[in-house]
């Protein structure tokens, strides 16, 4: 369970850290401190959000969360075996891939297994598992069949998640039993032909009937997972909302629960895709679909928030799933490297192969550590996990791609063959960097959300000074200096949280965190609101954030392994130390690059190059044989 005492101590530490950075004006200092102490309950507990303002709020990462009680753990363990047996005995991932469809009897068995209602409360016919337990099962899905994973993920992780999160008691009673166990598929319909990453720009429109009893929905959605088989859809559409204060009419997104049986809902043929072929992806069309007003999900006009929260809430599952996928890739690569002899040696004896296999496992360890830190934070009631969830989605999808690619490389020609099964996994994996928020957009999300949070805190500082805005830059510089000079080289100290063997590692990470906070401040000073346009810098900042999170969660988990005296503790320590060396180097390089003039010149160059390419519609060089 969460160690509440430790947490409270941490809170105090945070407050004092924050206060130490305020100006030495005693009255105001106390005032701000007091207000901070009062507001600790609502304070953002995200570790990552807080490092953007150079402060340490450790309760969500240290000690490594442990939310399941003994009974929940035993129950989870009892589910593992039948779940795995479904994949080994009933499911055939290669066949579903080849047929671009899961066999009906497999789907039926999957429903009977209970895999479609894992998080639906038992009262509504589901298994009633929490996020951590769900994550454990996701790992098994990821190891065996990602296409199938999309079918059950699109169903419960996003398809009807809105009903779980925002549904009224009536909506829950009506829909949850169906989607949990009665073989009724659900889907999440947000993306449109002209609206991908920019989800606010959707064109589907729902207009209220004059009697105020229905909405009439028109429009179309694309690339909807389960689009062709779903009976229950969470659909987002523009609605005209009257601002209660100003009385002005405005278009705002509203979420609806739409049943195919309402009439007017049709879907296109299954899309032909690169991977995840077992899952059904189609366009969905809405033509004068009459939706009863009681099927509004959440509040009218709150649809964008509903959509984002559903996606945020489901993201951790991707990390859990893909850590299972990586585990499987590593198993295959290990088996091959152990048995294959070339040049008179088993592959495993070559340093080049050792490098690959170790690297693969380090990334798997970090991905899994992130996923289960977040899942458990969520289960402990945290609302502040969005940055971490986005980070874990980026990290998991990129690490899994790397790990699968390297597994194929280790297996050589064998890896390229369909029979081995890795090429399918690689094709399946590609979508994970694209859907549910592309990694590029999520990087900007991570950087900008963090910066916004840091900025709002700096604003508080500014108000404490009550200095004219003209001096803002000066204040920022002062604050930054103070932060760095509080304790020797930097203020951050992680040493109390990690086991002795990781002290040098934690020191490296602490240095990165200090540098990170300072860099954010420098960015704010230099670019102010225009930082939003500096995507190259923001991406670097996000990369640094991702690396920092990977270091902290692995250090926390390896410390846990030592404290529990696990037989794998030394291995976990070794991987953590290796990861820290690599990740901290990257962080420092990325952060230095953000502020270096050399990098700035390079970025400008890059812009010019890109401009030329776009102007000319592609490559604009003279071919070697073309000059005259």
């Amino acid at each position: 369970m969460w160690k509440y005492r430790t947490l409270n101590n941490c809170n105090l530490a945070v407050s004092s850290l924050f206060c130490s950075r305020l100006p030495a004006n005693q009255t105001k200092f106390n005032a701000v401190c007091n207000s901070r102490n009062k507001s600790t309950v609502t304070e953002n507990q995200s570790f990552m959000a807080n490092i953007f303002r150079g402060s340490l709020v450790s309760k969500q990462v240290f000690p490594y969360p442990d939310v399941l009680n003994a009974e929940q753990k035993e129950l989870t363990n009892s589910l593992i075996d039948p779940f795995e047996r479904f994949f080994s005995d009933v499911n055939d991932a290669a066949k579903s891939d080849a047929n671009s469809k899961m066999d009906d009897d497999v789907a039926k068995a999957l429903w009977e297994l209970g895999a479609f209602g894992i998080q639906v409360p038992a009262d509504f016919g589901g298994l009633g598992l929490n996020n951590t337990q769900y994550g454990r099962l996701c790992g098994i899905v990821g190891a065996n069949d990602l296409g199938l994973g999309i079918t059950i993920g699109a169903h419960q992780s996003i398809g009807f998640k809105g009903i779980l999160l925002y549904g009224t008691p009536e909506q829950k009673a009506k829909y949850l039993p169906k989607v949990a166990a009665e073989q009724v598929y659900a889907a999440f319909a947000l993306t449109e032909p002209s609206s991908g990453s920019d989800a606010g720009s959707i064109r589907c429109r729902a207009v209220k009937t004059p009697d105020n009893k229905y909405y009439v929905l028109n429009g179309s959605k694309i690339w909807i997972s389960n689009g062709g088989i779903a009976e229950i859809l969470t659909v987002f559409a523009q609605t005209e909302v009257v601002d209660p204060k100003t009385g002005q009419k405005k278009d705002k997104v509203t979420a609806f629960i739409v049943e195919r049986s309402f009439g007017g809902v049709t879907s296109g043929p299954p899309e032909k895709k690169m991977g995840i072929k077992a899952s059904n992806t189609t366009e969905v069309y809405f033509e004068d679909v009459k939706i009863p007003v009681e099927n509004v999900l959440g509040k009218e006009g709150d649809g964008f928030k509903v959509a984002m929260n559903i996606l945020n809430n489901g993201r951790f599952g991707m990390g859990a799933t893909l850590s299972g996928t990586m585990k499987k890739c590593i198993e295959l690569a290990t088996a091959h490297a152990t048995n294959r002899v070339q040049f008179g040696q088993h592959l495993k004896n070559y340093k080049g192969i050792q490098d690959k296999i170790a690297q693969m496992n380090i990334l798997q360890y970090a991905t899994e550590s992130m996923a289960f830190a977040i899942a458990q934070n969520m289960d402990a009631g945290s609302q502040d996990y969005h940055l971490e969830a986005a980070i874990s989605k980026i990290y998991a999808s990129e690490c899994a791609w790397y790990v699968c690619d390297e597994a194929i490389q280790i297996l050589g020609g064998m890896g390229y063959m369909v029979e081995t099964g890795l090429e399918r996994v690689l094709r399946d994996l590609r979508i994970f960097r694209i859907f549910e928020g592309t990694n590029d957009i999520l990087r900007l999300f991570v950087a900008l959300t963090g910066i916004q949070y840091a900025g709002s805190h700096l604003k508080e500082l500014q108000q404490a000074f009550k200095n004219p805005a003209a001096n803002l830059g000066l204040i920022f510089k002062e604050a930054s200096k103070r932060a760095a000079s509080t304790v020797g080289l930097g203020g951050t100290d992680l040493s109390v949280h990690v086991t002795d063997e990781l002290l040098p590692s934690s020191k490296k990470t602490a240095h990165c965190i200090d540098l990170f906070g300072q860099t954010v401040e420098e960015l704010l000073i230099r670019y102010k609101k225009d930082i939003i346009h500096e995507q190259i810098l923001l991406t670097r900042l996000a990369n640094a954030a991702i690396d920092i999170y990977s270091m902290v969660v692995t250090q926390s988990r390896a410390t846990r392994a030592v404290n529990l005296n696990l037989p794998t503790a030394q291995h976990e320590l070794n991987m953590t130390k290796a990861l820290t060396i690599q990740a901290s180097d990257r962080v420092i390089n990325n952060l230095k690059d953000i502020t270096s003039s050399r990098q700035k010149a390079l970025n400008e160059q890059i812009s010019v190059i890109a401009g030329t390419i776009f102007e000319n519609g592609g490559v604009n060089t003279t071919g070697i044989l073309d000059e005259n």
């Binding site: 129950l75 009892s78 589910l79 075996d81 039948p82 779940f83 047996r85 479904f86 005995d89 009933v90 009977e112 297994l113 209970g114 895999a115 894992i118 038992a122 016919g125 298994l127 009633g128 166990a181 037989p567």
Partner: protein
């Protein structure tokens, strides 16, 4: 209508590569995946099928062993058994527990629970004893039907097809009886996740061998547990003549 008692044993999972302990007192069980003995799964499946065909009223799953044995009882409950009985035997004592002890325990329970049928797996995949069903029948002085390939209800009792060397044998027996399940009797169902959740609420009674009046004092001592000898590498010979010569040399022909 009958009450069926099914024995379920917790064994090292069939997929695990079993390792001998360095001190040669047994095999490594700690941190090793365990599951229900596969033949017992078949026995449970058969009992549950009897219930589904309304030929049985109640299925009781019994496991003899340490606390962890409850895991396989839960699995049986998730597969459809109605209630469980865990006969607790401390881990140390369990290592020397023999079929004779288990059969006495099962016989006592069969009487206490007024069972009409006892179905067991033909053998456990850990000790491969293949004795418990036969001994249980002997203790109870009930007819036995071992290595069942098919179990059919007839007016007089049961018609059983048995797997024997070189074919199948059909016998008729009255009930009560003790049966043992062979591999081809049925294909066991999976415990689905919802059923596992429901199984948590089914009753599981805990008793000790002493409660049942069965003495489980070990009568044997394990002297040494050894790995099978490693097979020596073979040799390739150039032609048939060389092979014949080699065989003669080795005294094989």
């Amino acid at each position: 209508m009958a009450r069926v008692l099914v024995g379920v044993k917790r064994v090292i999972d069939y997929a695990v590569k079993v390792r001998v302990k360095p001190d040669k007192t047994g095999v490594v069980t700690q941190g090793v995946k365990h599951s229900m003995n596969p033949f017992d799964e078949i026995a449970v499946e058969e009992a549950v099928k009897l219930k589904e065909k309304k030929l049985a009223t109640e299925v009781i799953a019994v496991s003899v062993g340490p606390t962890q044995s409850q895991e396989v009882i839960r699995t049986a409950l998730a597969m459809g058994a109605d209630r469980g009985v865990h006969v607790e035997v401390p881990a140390a004592e369990y290592e020397l527990l023999q079929p004779i002890h288990v059969s006495k325990i099962l016989a006592k329970l069969a009487l206490d629970e007024k069972a009409d049928l006892v179905i067991l797996g033909k053998q456990a995949i850990d000790d491969d004893a293949n004795q418990t069903a036969q001994m249980t029948a002997a203790v109870l002085d009930w007819p036995q039907g071992t290595f069942c390939n098919k179990i059919e209800k007839t007016d007089a009792g049961l018609t059983i097809t048995r797997e024997i060397d070189g074919g199948l044998e059909t016998i008729k027996t009255k009930t009560p009886a003790v049966l043992s399940a062979d591999l081809r009797l049925n294909t066991p169902r999976y415990a689905t996740l919802p059923n596992i959740m429901k199984a948590k609420k089914k009753p599981l009674k805990k008793v000790t061998a002493k409660d049942l009046g069965v003495d489980t004092t070990p009568r044997i001592e394990v002297v040494s547990v050894e790995d099978p000898p490693v097979r020596k590498a073979g040799a390739t010979v150039a032609d048939v003549d060389a092979l014949v010569a080699k065989l003669k040399e080795g005294g094989h022909i």
